[in-house]
């Protein structure tokens, strides 16, 4: 009997070229994703006179520095324009598939790669964005890597890694009404802490995850890095195969049949052992919101801002005090009802069509009392949303409908102002993340839309079911 293996071990074994005497593995990279920060890596290759080894296995699209309004007029900021143009020029010169500014397929890479069928089960995928792990939802091993490592992948199509440990997160039971995939992952991070997954590849499992759509799984895997995990995965199943089939770069015909046979063998063997197991009861998860400057500060929307005085560890107490000062919050304040200045719906966490449907479902019941932006994750998501009339729902409710980009999530091409409090569907509530001095509360798309209508953080469940 062969040793039972996890999904992660099967994909890992399939990509091992060699293990050196120091125990480091040279791993083959099936696909790599390049965004508009890859230019530092292309520069390095040019300086060293090295060619791109396998351009056919790469995908490039600008997302960080792309404007969300009036892009037909080009990019006004010369620094951003230079980065976006450089990515296109480098991609074209090397023969890399590139979706440019005016291509309807352009968008946030973590949205575009699954949408195009570029991210496939069973592959090792690397990308220069730290949220590359999003793609693991398809049953692949997707890692975010640094700029030098991007240069290494461009030149060699390989990466050196020490084999991470494995961790299984089981979410059993059923999600309650108004509880989104975002709430599941925020609840997990709050439970295990922002460093709770360091050194591990996580497999999300259990009935709640099995019942999730592919887009919900992408949201969950997106935030694996927010508790320090190397990446997150979900075993491929019929939901995965239905999602992938027919996408532009997905295998076709006899190759599709062969791929399916390979992919059906990927899920972890029943007796496979994980280095760590974590369990979460789906029915106990409420809509979540963060109060501090790290995703581990997520609490149910029904909670109050915690009091540092109750924290015995002096280091943690100092962290809490600093976070409360930055967020301008008093201990004991109820989070529901906390007035906000802005709402942001978008980012690689929550900018797919199902996210926009969930937000529109709430937005359609009122009028935004604060500035609220909706930024679709790709040109094709935007087109689909418009075909369904979601843009009209948002506009009628006073939300701004914008063009695909990372937008204010990175606080560069767009940003929020100092001291502004924003209910946001992004993945990081760090200090200055969405703009210098900006205060970010992480929430799901429906919770963000509800906050826009109330002008305050709101328990979306109190709005009741629509229609």
């Amino acid at each position: 009997m062969p040793q039972p293996r996890t999904l992660f071990e099967k994909i890992w074994d399939d990509h091992v070229i060699l293990v050196n005497e120091a125990g480091e593995t040279l791993l083959y990279v099936g696909r790599a994703l390049l965004h508009d920060s890859a230019n530092h890596a292309f520069d390095q290759l040019r300086q060293e006179g090295r060619p791109v080894r396998r351009p056919g296995q790469l995908l490039a699209s600008p997302d960080h520095y792309v404007p969300t309004l009036g892009r037909a007029r080009g990019i006004a900021n010369p620094e951003y324009r230079q980065q976006v143009e450089a990515l296109e020029a480098s991609s074209r010169a090397a023969g890399i598939t590139h979706f440019g500014l005016l291509d309807p397929r352009q968008g946030i890479l973590q949205v575009v790669a699954p949408e195009q069928g570029m991210s496939l089960p069973g592959l090792v995928i690397c990308g220069g964005d730290s949220h590359t792990g999003t793609n693991g939802a398809l049953g692949c091993l997707a890692f975010g890597i640094g700029t030098s490592e991007v240069a290494h992948v461009l030149a060699t199509q390989t990466i050196w890694l020490r084999k991470p440990k494995s961790m299984r997160v089981r979410v059993e039971g059923r999600r309650g009404f108004g509880v989104a995939a975002k709430d599941v992952i925020l609840a997990l991070i709050a439970k295990v802490s922002a460093a709770g997954g360091v050194g591990h590849v996580v497999e999300y499992a259990g009935s709640v995850v099995r019942a999730m759509s592919m887009e919900e799984r992408l949201t969950v895997c997106n935030m694996s890095i927010e508790f320090g995990a190397r990446t997150g995965t979900v075993a491929p199943d019929e939901t995965t195969f239905r999602y992938v089939e027919g996408r532009p770069f997905a295998p076709k015909g006899a190759q599709w049949e062969k791929a399916l046979r390979d992919w059906r063998a990927l899920p972890s063997d029943p007796d496979a052992r994980f280095d760590r197991e974590v369990a979460l009861e789906g029915g106990e998860i409420a809509p979540m919101v963060t109060w501090g400057t790290n995703p581990e500060t997520a609490v149910p929307i029904t909670a109050r801002v915690p009091d540092p005085a109750g924290e015995p560890d002096p280091g943690k107490r100092a962290d809490m005090e600093r976070a409360l000062k930055y967020m301008a919050l008093q201990p004991g304040t109820a989070l529901a009802g906390l007035p906000i200045d802005r709402v942001f719906i978008g980012s690689c966490t929550n900018s797919r069509i199902e996210d926009l449907r969930a937000a529109a479902d709430v937005a359609g019941r009122g009028k935004a009392r604060v500035s609220a932006w909706v930024v679709p994750g790709s040109g094709l998501v935007k087109r689909q949303a418009e075909a369904e009339g979601l843009d009209r729902v948002f506009r009628a409710a006073g939300f701004e409908w914008r063009e695909p980009s990372c937008s204010a999530c990175t606080g560069s091409i767009d940003s929020i102002g100092p001291g502004e409090r924003c209910a946001s569907t992004i993945n990081r509530n760090f200090e200055d993340r969405m703009g210098r001095g900006g205060r970010v509360h992480l929430v799901s798309p429906a919770m963000a839309a509800a906050a826009a209508l109330a002008g305050a953080l709101t328990d979306v469940r109190t709005l009741g079911e629509n229609r």
Binding site: D14, I17, L18, E21, A22, G23, E24, L26, Y28, G30, R31, H40, R50, G56, Q57, E79, Y80, Q82, G122, L123, G128, D129, S130, G144, I145, G146, T147, S148, E149, A151, H152, A155, T156, T158, W160, R162, A194, A195, V198, G199, G228, R230, P251, Q255, W256, K258, A259, D262, N294, K316, A318, D319, T410, S412, R428, F430, E431, D432, R433, R436
Partner: protein, 202 residues
């Protein structure tokens, strides 16, 4: 890449846990080309006031800590974004070694690729070292990579673990791509097998 062997230098304590790469290298500098003047990037929002002048209250700006080449940090140092600029910024300011109980994974790997040694020591040891550095500004710490040992200002020694391959590369200042391409035959043979096994990818 500049090799790292041993270093005895002033160390500065940073007490904040979860010090993320957005703080180490703020987003508005990520497009900046690496070169002269890059040192303004590091912890910019902490080291400088909104008008661009230095913040004299921030610990790194105090005279005794200015020559520091070592940082003693807290848990989950360098968490968050993959931006390698966080390490570039540290390196531009002359930092060659870090000591902390744990690091963000991506940041940890990026350190080795840029000649910066990230040492992991137990939380209690890091807290104690930071306490000594606060009590005696300008105190020195010694880091010995070949022998994998740190000596604190009090003369007490602490052994640390580091993986053999990154250690070898750091000791010899070896560039990753060059090392990998020495395995060209193995890579090419693997690719042939891979293309046949995963024909649906090509």
């Amino acid at each position: 890449m500049q090799p790292f062997t041993t270093l005895k230098a002033v160390a500065v304590p940073l007490d904040e846990a979860n010090l993320d790469t957005n703080q180490l290298s703020p987003t508005r500098f990520t497009r900046r080309a690496r070169g002269p003047g890059y040192e303004i990037v590091l912890l910019h929002q902490w080291r400088f006031r909104p008008d661009g002048s230095e913040n004299p209250d921030f610990i790194m700006n105090r005279p005794a800590y200015r020559p520091a080449q070592i940082i003693v940090g807290a848990r989950n140092f360098g968490c968050g974004s993959s931006r390698e600029m966080a390490v570039w910024a540290l390196s531009a300011c002359g930092f060659r070694a870090l000591i902390a109980p744990s690091y963000g994974d991506l940041f940890y790997n990026n350190c080795f690729k840029n000649g910066v040694l990230p040492v992991v020591l137990p939380e209690a040891v890091c807290t104690d070292l930071r306490g000594q550095l606060h009590a005696k500004p300008g105190a020195e710490i010694a880091v010995d990579l070949p022998n994998q040992a740190v000596t604190g200002p009090d003369g007490k020694g602490h052994a640390f673990e580091v993986q053999a391959f990154p250690k070898h590369c750091l000791l010899n200042g070896l560039d990753d791509i060059g090392i990998t391409l020495q395995h060209e035959q193995a890579i090419a043979a693997f690719e042939t097998r891979y293309r046949a096994a995963k024909s649906w990818l090509f």
